[in-house]
Symmetry: D2
Subunit: 104 residues, 4 copies
Amino acid sequence: MELNEITRILIDFRDRRDWKKYHTPKNLAISAAVEVGELLEIFQWKSDEEIVRLLESEEYRERIGEEISDVMIYLLTLAHECRIDIERAILSKIEKNERKYPVK
Amino acid sequence: MELNEITRILIDFRDRRDWKKYHTPKNLAISAAVEVGELLEIFQWKSDEEIVRLLESEEYRERIGEEISDVMIYLLTLAHECRIDIERAILSKIEKNERKYPVK
Amino acid sequence: MELNEITRILIDFRDRRDWKKYHTPKNLAISAAVEVGELLEIFQWKSDEEIVRLLESEEYRERIGEEISDVMIYLLTLAHECRIDIERAILSKIEKNERKYPVK
Amino acid sequence: MELNEITRILIDFRDRRDWKKYHTPKNLAISAAVEVGELLEIFQWKSDEEIVRLLESEEYRERIGEEISDVMIYLLTLAHECRIDIERAILSKIEKNERKYPVK
């Protein structure tokens, strides 16, 4: 699915609940930070080796997928509220990184 | 662009630089948290009204777009390393939210 | 109570449970970030005015106090593990800020 | 030094600069999160073994001490603005943890 189509689904979900009034950029950035904290919590106290083992479990992968999604949902909404074309922003950031870190 | 296509570009960028060895799930989640901190910094000490005014400036919007992209780049790489279909995860999270918060 | 005395209580608590093995600097910094996420969550979606009202409630203040404590507990343990005299570090940071932001 | 004395120094520093107007609980929690991001950045991409080696350097320890201090300065100011006795809150949290995790 196109990234911009996912954003359209999110904004439609949001607007049907009349939640736009809460969605200031500051509130959305706070929410992304709250969810990144929950994502980090999944890896808290675990070694890289334990995480590799845990990733065998579909339940563990689903938990991670859900937390990543929570962060992404807030980021896509934030981009929308700031009138940012996030697909273009990501591609332009990758290009910038290409120049910054040339392949040897 | 398809979300999974963006991931493919990122992983290709990463592999040509031989950076996979650094990309443990724990390290990628830490990096997402570092970048979310930089995103929050853009709104630090500013009121919602000031942010609305600042958003008139293309430069300010570009700064936000770059920080959102940095977080998303790490999240997409993390999802890939955890063998998570992030598009499916996001759509399934939206469906879950539809059931949790029914439109009145 | 002296800050260093609080640290001594924390390390004693930790060592009696044999948890030092988990307390690498990286794990402790992750834990501080997880707890800061929970602290932010208390203010999520709330306006400054609502927070002022909520602060009238002792229960709300206690919730905030508990989350701040969780972050501080990890920070003090992290400082200890890194052999940092945190009292000296804070006072030296305040002095640095005094020079950086002179009173007009 | 007493924890509450450190808070007094911070509030005095702050009030002589007339910065109280920026210090809403929400802004202070955001600032703590921004600084925790900078703390995490010090450990980004590094293994536990590399960090042990880096900790031999006084400069590295000082960098960590400065970032921990930045977070603590915002947390102490936040506790003050919320009328929380942070020393009591920390000791009461340790007692709670004593009951939650009894020594076997």
